[in-house]
Symmetry: D2
Subunit: 140 residues, 4 copies
């Protein structure tokens, strides 16, 4: 069975990201996850701004983070993300945050597909469902 | 000549607001200013959500902050705001952030009135212009 | 068996809290959770700034949020929080975010107790452990 | 007279950066400015984390932004920053935010040099003052 496509991006921690304990504030990891899945969607050929322009949204209905180690100002982080699973109407994206290989945080977000006009749940757009079913075509 | 109406609200600093120097991160003062002018508009009888529902926006075209002293996690702050000046199409709101009377920051924001349909500049809605001309009627 | 003490605070959503879908950005719920547990610790008699001054930290090692409905600019939210469970070295705090009674989000954070000098895990300070064992004494 | 050294970095706007008007929230430009001056200090050979490790801080005492055009989710922005002026104890850094060449925002921050032990104002470390006096040596 094939491995899911993994996206990768780097990020430099800003002073704004830190808190007075000296480390990246915990809520910011969800921003990191967003950056990662945003890149993942772009990599598999359906960038989120395009998806929104097509009338779809993917609001988060569940988020989970396990924090293993801390990061601070100036650190260069690696974000990795991949599609964990999906149904006709939902996606689950897994993310990892690493620093020089060491795992800082791992977690996932679950997204429901929303029709932005009616603001009601809907099926994933076929273009996305197909891409996700076989991402190998989109990013050679 | 009459003094402008001054709004006042209190705010408790969260851990999220701080940075690794131990104090409130400087950009957050612009969020404090937003909270203050939001309350100011509500106090003078034209809350910003109502203004947006009526098709107007007040995007910031200029912001300035002078930082005098620092605040940290758990501090109870006082925000004061008032209309500094306005023209047919622009507003200038002044804000102060204080802690137990001591001035922490002072500054202002300038706003252009925008038609949210056309996204073009427009005159302030008459309801707001009238209220601002004589706020004394709106908040006894 | 007694119910745990529940803290309660209110919060007004700022424009800064929203994103371009029009709702509160999902990471901000973790900031809401922080505000809630901060109030919880103050209510049970051991405010977090005091705990830090005593050389302890409670960094988050796990966070989870289930999102049920959205909030937007100007909404008045109710945050509820309570101690879910604790061991000699860890706490779990549960939080709910409601709007006019309706549940918007529910989740929890798990915290390890840290010695801020050595930055190593340590036992919860006895003062906190005792308070948590019987919070009924601290907030009549 | 020589031109000051200009630093340059790129940044991709996240969903978190936007607000419900659909654009980058105005306070985030001060975060962009921070990223820019952070890179500027690294480029001229004295990264801010090193400066802090040496016992110095450069808290912002004044900030100003003129907003000219808006940015939104997914935009690739260019940040440019340079030393505007400095005295024995203060720095002024200018910043521009551009999108495909078009100016979105321009402004500056003024920083006082702080001794992080005493938390009192002090002279800029000689290493920084010298570098700033002649940045041409530091980044060929």
């Amino acid at each position: 069975m094939s491995q899911p496509y993994k996206t990768h991006l780097t990020y430099e921690v800003s002073y704004a990201d830190t808190d007075r304990m000296g480390f990246v504030y915990y809520a910011n990891y969800l921003v990191f996850f967003e950056r990662t899945r945003s890149r993942l969607l772009a990599d598999v050929g359906y960038p989120y701004p395009k998806l929104e322009a097509d009338g779809f949204g993917l609001p988060v209905i569940e988020a989970h983070v396990d924090y293993r180690a801390s990061a601070t100002y100036g650190d260069l982080l690696d974000f990795h993300g991949w599609l964990d699973s999906h149904t006709a109407t939902r996606l689950r994206v897994a993310c990892e945050v690493r620093k020089q290989g060491a795992l800082l945080a791992v977690g996932y977000t679950v997204h429901a597909c929303l029709n932005l006009q009616s603001m009601k749940p809907t099926r994933l757009p076929s273009r996305l469902a197909e891409t996700l079913a076989d991402p190998s075509d989109s990013h050679e």
